[in-house]
Symmetry: C2
Subunit: 360 residues, 2 copies
């Protein structure tokens, strides 16, 4: 089974973040630097020398996670108090802001971190996006705020920190000022795309937030986890349609399931992949439509992340007691949804193949 | 059966044009004036003394109709050559322009009017709107360009000229510069509304064009005819929810089926209208959603046009051989669609009640 989606080419994290990468190079120092309290930094990401904990703009990862969880819990909770209504053009530029003093306030609980402010961008618009993507408010809240966020240990060269929710459904990524600003500007076009191009393979954006602490702004975006563990991928390719320097690095190849690139694909699968004619046509059409949108946004640095789940291999792995994939149950074919989840959230679990074949 | 929709309060023409009226007062001279060649003008509308023909910005109505028909035929024809694609944000500000010399050109036929230029605003966006409203390109072309446009003789106080297509489905209205500009700015919000609020009772905009002739710009908008003859209305009310000066004029009352106003409604129907609970709730919700959108557009001069088709009265009229409604067949209940039309165009014929009960 082939799984397709766009990917952040600067990272091996399987999420589609291409559309917010355009501005990154402008703000991102290419080389690492050292400061008094940091061991090594890439962009805004560093490591605290005393504890070894990751930092972002000198805020520790644990404080950032805490602020994100408190902030999202508050903003989603307060949004659920407000009546449902249609999204208006004005909603795309709204920014809601709430102060979280460590001693607590009428509106916010006490916490063990420094005071911070939490900003929610376009709350009504993102509520609509989440609804369109089948994410129920309760599940969003539960996945992100009631279970620990797990920091990814191989965050790539972008200088961002990545977190994944415990249930492996959501990715949180720090983004730079320009990227967040750019994403905000794209929201009307994004709205139009998800209404017209139901099969779109572009990243699903669920929220854009900002944690203000110690005079620094840390902006984060919440997205779908494109390749969750529930369907183990036996091969992964990050494809750009270019052959220039498009081979996975030696370091990447050392991983259990590396993300290969275009030149590897040509070498490993010289015949390409065999898709049924209908799926092939639907996929090509979707990629065309997505590329037209990216082009209209003047985005050119994007790629298609393709995961291959080999049914025979999965079957063999299962017979061997799932040895190859740790202690996880390996699924194949239609994914069995978690019984706790309602039907409405199907899209979360839908494989990309269902997305390819789905409604126009 | 009740039919509801917003209406142009400055006119008795049953079309929902409220959202493009906001700017009108600024440009519209309130009093009539006389010029050398014109008998009487209201705004840009006048009458030629020699022929008695209506003029708009000194262009005769027949020349205007000819230019509109040639222009729309060309723009819809050339659009059908282009591949279907998604609407992008950029599409809302596109203006296509084509010159029609009277002797004809490679692209345009010869004609009997003066040279003119025809501009189409946001062609891709309006193609999408027409598709959303179930208007097939062929039918749009046929209704507007292959049959005569009929000028309405009671165009109201707005200074606009109104045409209706021979099949009574489309209304064409001249709009002023500011109104056209305003409508263009609303297009992204309009796109969002028809995607979210499927039951919207706001006017259906099918096209925005401009005829440039003799140094003048004549902008026109093509809309749905809210109360087509096919369902004869026995009572009509233009409701604003205000009681200030909201009684139909004596002149209006002289008409066969006058459009009454709020004070008349209160007097004639002190108990209001009885709607089934589901319809009542759906209608209230839709009006709320429409009003929220109008408010977001900063439009406050709008009204609800309500038509009442009395089944008993229609039945009696039919028994009397349709005497009360001329030689037209009077229909009731679900409207029987013209056999020539495909199912896709259903929405054209849908009564507002179906619209009220329709999908979210």
């Amino acid at each position: 089974m082939a799984t397709a989606g766009t990917a952040d080419s600067g990272s091996t994290v399987p999420t589609g973040t291409s559309s917010i990468r355009r501005m990154a190079p402008a703000e991102m120092p290419g080389s690492s630097s050292t400061t008094q309290s940091m061991k090594k930094t890439i962009g805004h990401r560093g490591v605290e020398t005393t504890t070894g904990e990751t930092t972002y703009k000198k805020t520790t990862s644990s404080a950032l996670k805490g602020a994100i969880q408190l902030g999202i819990a508050h903003t989603v909770g307060s949004l659920s108090q407000k009546a449902e209504r249609d999204v208006l053009m004005q909603d795309f530029v709204v920014v809601e802001s709430i102060f979280f003093p460590s001693e607590g306030s009428n509106l916010t609980p006490a916490h063990h971190y420094s005071d911070f402010r939490f900003k929610t961008y376009a709350p009504i618009a993102f509520r609509y996006f989440r609804e369109m993507f089948g994410i129920r408010p309760d599940d969003y809240l539960y996945s992100l705020c009631n279970e620990p966020l797990i920091e990814l240990s191989n965050p790539g060269a972008s200088g961002s920190i990545f977190y994944v929710s415990s249930d492996d459904e959501f990715i949180i990524k720090t983004v730079q000022h320009k990227e967040a600003e750019f994403l905000q500007k794209l929201l009307p076009g994004y709205f139009m795309n998800i209404n017209q191009n139901k099969r779109t393979l572009l990243p699903k954006f669920y929220g854009l937030y900002c944690v203000q602490a110690g005079g620094k702004n840390i902006r984060i975006v919440v997205m779908n986890n494109l390749l969750p563990r529930i369907v183990p991928m036996h091969l992964k390719y990050d494809l750009k349609g270019s052959t220039y320097k498009r081979r996975a690095s030696l370091k990447e190849r050392e991983k259990a399931v590396p993300t290969y690139k275009d030149l590897d694909f040509i070498q490993d699968l010289p015949e390409g992949l065999l898709l049924e004619a209908d799926n092939f046509n639907a996929l090509c059409k979707t990629i065309q439509r997505d590329c037209l949108l990216l082009q209209s946004f003047k985005i050119m640095d994007y790629s298609l992340l393709m995961g291959i789940h080999n049914l025979d291999q999965a079957s063999r792995e299962r017979e061997r007691g799932g040895a190859a994939s740790g202690d996880r149950v390996v699924l194949e074919g239609p994914v069995t949804p978690d019984q706790r989840r309602p039907q409405a959230q199907k899209s979360l679990y839908c494989t990309a193949m269902e997305s390819i074949q789905g409604g126009r």
